[in-house]
Amino acid sequence: MMKGNEAIGEGAIRAGCRYFFGYPITPQSELPHYLAWRLPEVGGVYLQAESELAAINMVYGAAAAGARVMTSSSSPGISLMQEGISYLAGAELPCVIVNIMRGGPGLGNIAPAQSDYFQATRGGGHGDYRHIVLAPSTVQEIIDLMGLAFDLADRYRNPVLVVGDGILGQMMEPVELKDEAPPAPPPKPWATTGIRGRGRPNIINSLYIVPEDLEEVNRRLAAKYAAIRAREPRWETHRLEDAEVVVVAYGTVARIARAAVDRVRARGLAAGLIRPITLWPFPERPFAGLRGRVRRFLAVEMSAGQMVEDVRLAVQGAAPVHFYGRTGGIVPSVREVAEAISSIAGGKSVAEEDFHQAAGADR
């Protein structure tokens, strides 16, 4: 059995990550506590930075030096990293960033939330960049996706974000740890490690003062993002075959939604679930076959309605897209979600704009 936050750390170590730079924040603290013990044991470095800003730029330096490196924070701390993330994307440096999301905006609270979806998927920083976003929903999946996160980061030379919430971080579940030696990270001939044996300097940079040059870079990035869009969407479906109402949810909420789908199925309602595992690229493919059959979609989030936009973009008007959400750290219950499904299936609308009334009535 392992706590989710600890699984993030152990997953990273087993993926060959030896460097962690971060700044304390609830509800991800078990991760730095764990790594402060574990990393020195495996010859790695745990460094508590003076801030999230410093942490993300230490990550930038370590990634430039060719290391598998990560940082972790929660919502306000991730906001502080946005400039740095834009730089990492612009300089095409691989790294893994963990956001254990909490209630917002502002200081908010430390309860579980999913209200950083826009920030995660649309790039909270400046410029045309994207990063892959992975959203595990079990402790085992955390372990598996941490390995994938580092692989994707290196493969695409791009930051990868892993998002969860405090429930996932605090939860204990049994995990299977593969006892393999960590994979050797791919060669990084571009890394700034000193020119010995190479002769020509390597330069890590995102400045291109001539617009034509910067457009060229943006084209290269756009092509890379297009490749990621084509190859990397990941998702899971549950009882989708004959579903007429499809719930879309990720992370912790997907588990609640899955139980809710089972509950309404037991009452004879043909519901199904799409669980995006990558939030960016958003998995549009599972929606493709549903046109015509599915009468309604329901996005369920611990937010005021953010992923619902991606669902709308995926559905493109083929069927109404409804929303049910709770905010502020309130976790929707299986019963609530089951009722939301029943109610839209019956034609009642739980529109985004009504979420607060709806949520209120439901309590």
């Binding site: 609270n109 430390i110 089972d262």
Partner: protein, 194 residues
């Protein structure tokens, strides 16, 4: 079978450990298990609770908002969470600190003088382990022997000197629990994938 258990009480009553004990015991019996604490500002000094799920099939949702079993270690938490217990469910309460049983008649209720028993054993901190024993006695969710083994999983090595005491606490609790042979079959249980 899907056991969704909520354990609630004061911080410092060993709530989180009790939950882990059940989960580890389930794990030792190759069941699917999950454990979630409440966390945050409530932790320090205030209330504490955790949710444990033990199941024969993979667990969809490890969150427990409508528990089949509630273990209430103090009055405020009994008051707060009893209404959420599933119809047909079970409530074990710490009768050393709680005066009245619950007000519902669609659930089974078992009073366990956990603090008193623990004090008898010489250490009030094992009260929550007494409660786990009672749970096992009442439900056979796991075998008592497994739970005794699992104690080693949840107590840190430097506390293993306390294993005998804790085994005793489990046993005493189980004795009380066995007064009430609870089987959830009769209860109204939602959820399809059990």
């Amino acid at each position: 079978m899907l056991w969704e258990i909520l354990i609630t009480g004061f911080g410092g009553q060993g709530i989180l450990l009790a939950g882990q004990l059940i989960a580890y015991a389930g794990l030792r019996e190759d069941r699917h298990v999950a454990w979630i604490p409440s966390y945050g500002p409530e932790m320090r000094g205030g209330t504490a609770n955790c949710a444990v799920t033990v199941a024969d099939a993979p667990i969809s949702c490890p969150l427990v908002t409508e528990p089949l079993v509630l273990i209430a270690m103090n009055q405020p938490s009994l008051d707060k969470y009893e209404p959420a217990v599933l119809s047909g469910g079970l409530v074990l309460y710490n009768s050393s600190l709680i005066n009245r049983g619950g007000g519902r008649n669609d659930i089974r209720v078992l009073d366990v003088p956990a603090n008193a028993l623990a004090e008898e054993l010489g250490n009030v901190r094992v009260a929550s382990v007494v409660m786990v024993g009672a749970l096992i006695g009442a439900t056979q969710i796991v075998s008592l022997g497994t739970a005794m083994e699992a104690l080693a999983d949840v107590l840190p090595p430097h506390r293993h000197g306390l294993l005998p005491l804790n085994r005793e606490a489990l046993a005493r609790g189980a004795l009380i629990g066995s007064r009430c042979r609870f089987s959830p079959a009769g209860g109204v249980m939602p959820g399809g994938a059990r």
